[in-house]
């Protein structure tokens, strides 16, 4: 009997709106501490929250992109707990009626589509940030704590999946897909390193044939996709091992220790908090009307899932479609232009995700300012197909185009990369190679087919790579059959 992991993931997405969730303070990562604050986000006596309409628009966009239902009536609740970086000692969040609920996200796992249910997407405010000064940086060993409230009140969307994920890899793919989605929507900076996307995972295991869910454990403190995957894998192993030894998994919250690669139990208190939710009396219910929702829907960009499907329709395989889909927008634009200009989509995509992306990385260049037009890429693909340049020479041609030396044909001429296709010139070289390599010639004539490869290589060497290998092959065979 084998074990089946059951995983649900909660993803917190910080929205990149201009102002905070309930006040006019700027949302700005990296500003000097406590400079983007006001009476509202500092929780000063008498201050009141006012809902940021743009943030509601953004969560509705996320909900629509996840095929969620958008609640016609939804309310904020107060989630009560004491924490030094939570200025009001309650967080304005949502409880029983989230803005969006019951949607799904399709993942492609090993070439198969897996539909992951989305239970809800709700709106809440972020907390401030504590910096614990002390040797370990952990709160319990801290000598003092610094508080920065710039992040306090930043709009946060929590997206809760159903327990539909079956492996750590699936969980990672799901989180990455969500990251791509919110980035595509333009509602979040989606920067892991700035904490604009954070996640918790709920993990349990059960016997493969069982319908019932096992006891779930919540794991926290994963700050990269890799650590999400590692932490879940570790937790699955821990639970299986525990169960096989006859132990019982306890419902608790566990902290992922990135360095040690293990999870450990957080204080039970934090796992069993009673948040005493009640309706936030300082805010009125949100009641988005159909007209507004339709407007938001009309403004949605093409989403990664749909785009990948479109690329596959163009003739790209799943992997290539996935990579191109995740590429910067400018690259996708060049792809579309090149295909429009007649290039084979496959070739255009390969050049973009390969050589062009490599060049961007080497140069540290901004993809938005890519000095390559779709028609230039199409021309490059064409001159390869026409045999004007070899594939290897084409790479150099691309360098020249990216360096601003002109069109691919012009660069090929200028840099003397045009293939030798005149058979007279090529025949002379071939004859020389045949003369110089009697052993290889003998082997070939003796039936050793692969000896031709060596001879082609010699010709290519003699021509400085400017010969078309196919043409060389043909001419060689003719010469040897004489």
């Amino acid at each position: 009997m084998s074990w089946q992991p059951v995983i649900g993931v909660e993803v917190h997405v910080e929205l990149s709106s201009d102002s905070k969730m309930f006040c006019g303070c700027a949302v700005e990562f990296g500003a000097p501490p406590n400079t983007r604050v006001c009476p509202v986000c500092l929780g000063l006596p008498g201050a009141l929250p006012v809902t940021n309409r743009k943030a509601i628009e953004d969560i509705i966009a996320i909900g629509l992109a996840l095929d969620c239902e958008v609640s016609g009536h939804s309310v904020f609740h107060r989630k009560n707990y004491f924490y030094a970086d939570l200025p009001k000692n309650y967080q304005i969040s949502q409880y029983d009626i989230p803005v969006c609920h019951d949607g799904h996200l399709d993942l492609t796992v090993d070439g198969e589509t897996r539909r992951i249910g989305i239970e809800r997407a709700h709106m809440e405010e972020d907390t401030g940030k504590s910096t614990h000064l002390g040797e370990t940086g952990r709160i319990h060993a801290a000598e003092s704590t610094l508080l920065d409230f710039n992040r306090s009140g930043v709009p946060l969307v929590e997206i809760v999946s159903r327990p539909d994920l079956r492996s750590a890899t699936e969980a990672r793919l799901y989180a990455q897909e969500l990251r791509d989605l919110v980035a595509e929507l333009g509602v979040s900076d989606a920067r892991m390193e700035e904490g604009s996307i954070r996640f918790d995972a709920n993990v349990s295991v059960r016997r493969e044939e069982s319908e019932e869910l096992g006891t779930k454990v919540e794991i926290k403190n994963m700050n990269s996709f890799r650590s999400l995957e590692r932490a879940i894998d570790h937790e699955i192993d821990r639970q299986i091992e525990l169960a096989e030894r006859g132990g019982v998994v306890t419902q608790e919250t566990r902290h992922w220790d990135e360095e040690a690669g293990v999870t450990h139990s957080m204080r039970a208190k934090e796992g069993s908090s009673d948040y005493r939710y009640f309706t936030e009396p300082d805010l009125v219910p949100m009641e988005p009307d159909a007209v507004w929702i339709d407007e938001i829907a009309a403004g949605l960009p093409e989403l990664p899932v749909a785009r990948r499907q479109r690329y596959v329709g163009d003739g790209l395989d799943e992997d290539l479609a996935g990579v191109l889909s995740a590429s910067p927008p400018q690259l996708r634009k060049v792809y579309a232009e090149a295909a429009e200009a007649g290039a084979s989509p496959r070739s255009a995509a390969n050049w973009l995700v390969g050589e062009v992306t490599g060049w961007l990385r080497r140069e540290g260049a901004d993809p938005d300012a890519l000095p390559l037009r779709g028609e230039q890429l199409a021309e490059l693909v064409t001159i390869i197909d026409e045999g004007v340049v070899s594939v290897s020479a084409a790479k150099e041609v691309l360098e020249g185009v990216l360096a601003g030396e002109g069109s691919p044909r012009a660069v090929a001429q200028k840099r003397d990369l045009v293939q030798i296709s005149e058979s007279a010139e090529l025949s002379a070289v071939v004859e020389k190679v045949v003369e110089d390599n009697p052993d290889a010639v003998a082997s070939f004539r003796g039936g050793e087919e692969k000896a031709i490869g060596f001879l082609v290589g010699q010709v290519m060497r003699e021509t400085g790579g400017r010969a078309d290998p196919r043409a060389v092959n043909e001419i060689l065979r003719q010469a040897l059959s004489r």
Binding site: P39, L42, G43, L44, P45, G46, A47, L48, P49, V50, T51, R78, N80, F82, A84, P87, K88, N89, Y90, T145, L147, D274, R276, Y277, F278, P281, D282, L283, V284
Partner: protein
Amino acid sequence: MLRSGELTAVDLLASVLDRAHRTEAQLHAYLTIDREGAGRAAAQADADLAEGLDHGPLHGMPLALKDNMCTRGLETTASSQILSGYHPPYDATVVSKLRQGGAVIVGKTNLDEFAMGSSTENSAYGPSYNPWDISRVPGGSSGGSAAAVAAGSALGALGSDTGGSIRQPASLTGLVGLKPTYGTVSRYGLIAFASSLDQIGPLTRTVEDAAVVLETVWGHDPLDSTSHPGPYPDLREGLGRGVDGLRIGVVEELSGEGYEPAVERSVAEMVKSLSGAGAEIVEVSLPTFDIALSAYYLIAPAEASANLARFDGVRYGHRSGGATVEALMARTRAEGFGPEVTRRILLGTYALSAGYYEAFYGQAQKVRAAIQEDFDRAYQRVDVLVSPTSPTVAFPVGDRVDDPLAMYLSDICTIPSNLAGHPAISVPVGLDDTGLPIGFQVMAPALGETVMFRAAAEVERLAGFEARPRLAEVPA
């Protein structure tokens, strides 16, 4: 008089400050008197008027503010130790509006800590006393505002009313006090007690003065999400029109046991006078009023338990030491809050706890909805409802401090309007045998201020209440 130049705002302020100087030792109406700021505002008011700049009917008027409204740079404590020395960086919306209206803010008045109480005895800075009899309480929680206006150390004041905290002290000090419709006066900058119930309103000598102050401070405020967008009722339209043809409902449930005979007599006489003035009097039963107090004492503390959570010593106000941040917070709160506030936080926390929520908070919300339905039914038959404002006249200092339930009963007549979000006003109608004032309450449906003011003005005219407190002045 200001406009004719007979009197200056500076003179007016001086007379009010002089009055405060002579009475404060006995009354303790104020926590802070802002001589400097008030002096500047009065001088500015005179200068503006000299230049023909008239900011309206409150121009140059010395007014007092309950100390739970934030004033920029002026200490604001809500009568709590936990906010001792706290100077807000901003003005509450009502404060900005008063300033724009040319009013002169004399100072900050005493209250029950965080507005929790009915006698102003729950103040960390000592109680206030009733100008009509300084052995008695001025009511609460806006008792300091009431005492100041009754004593003449302010011409009017703002209070806040969560369960009767403007109307009951107005009743106990012979003033007009009103709680407008929920959402008509911005709560931005009002230190919250119970957000869904709190409402700011005026305490004044006359009904017309109350209209003037209310007109200045109310109106839509984008900083308060629960603010009413408008339109707002006309407060003057009904003044002087009398009650001829008005249907007035007398609430059966707000009489009987616990009501002092003098109070019941006064109220009955006024009802008779109203009838004589042409009103149609209807006996109305609102059975849910009997359970309003219980619902209130679950909802208000529940909201308060969250509203007061922010006072933890981390960012502002009083801070006690502690080895850990948890200890610091716990100690700050244990030291900073008085016993009544602590009691209500515990009550509210309990009412919201898992396993108790449905039985307590959930149930109370159902009662609240039922009270609203009761009101709606009644208002199909009548235009306004009337009752005593308080079952008793001012009670002696110390009488109810050890009996929270007796204290809570002070608000039995006023609480239903808060739960429904409706306006209600208290108008003085007479004195009992010992010379203590009695208040008469007029309640109206949401945004029914026009008819409420119409009835209140007639009650005022019929009562002809001219008495003033016989406070012995201390020589200046």
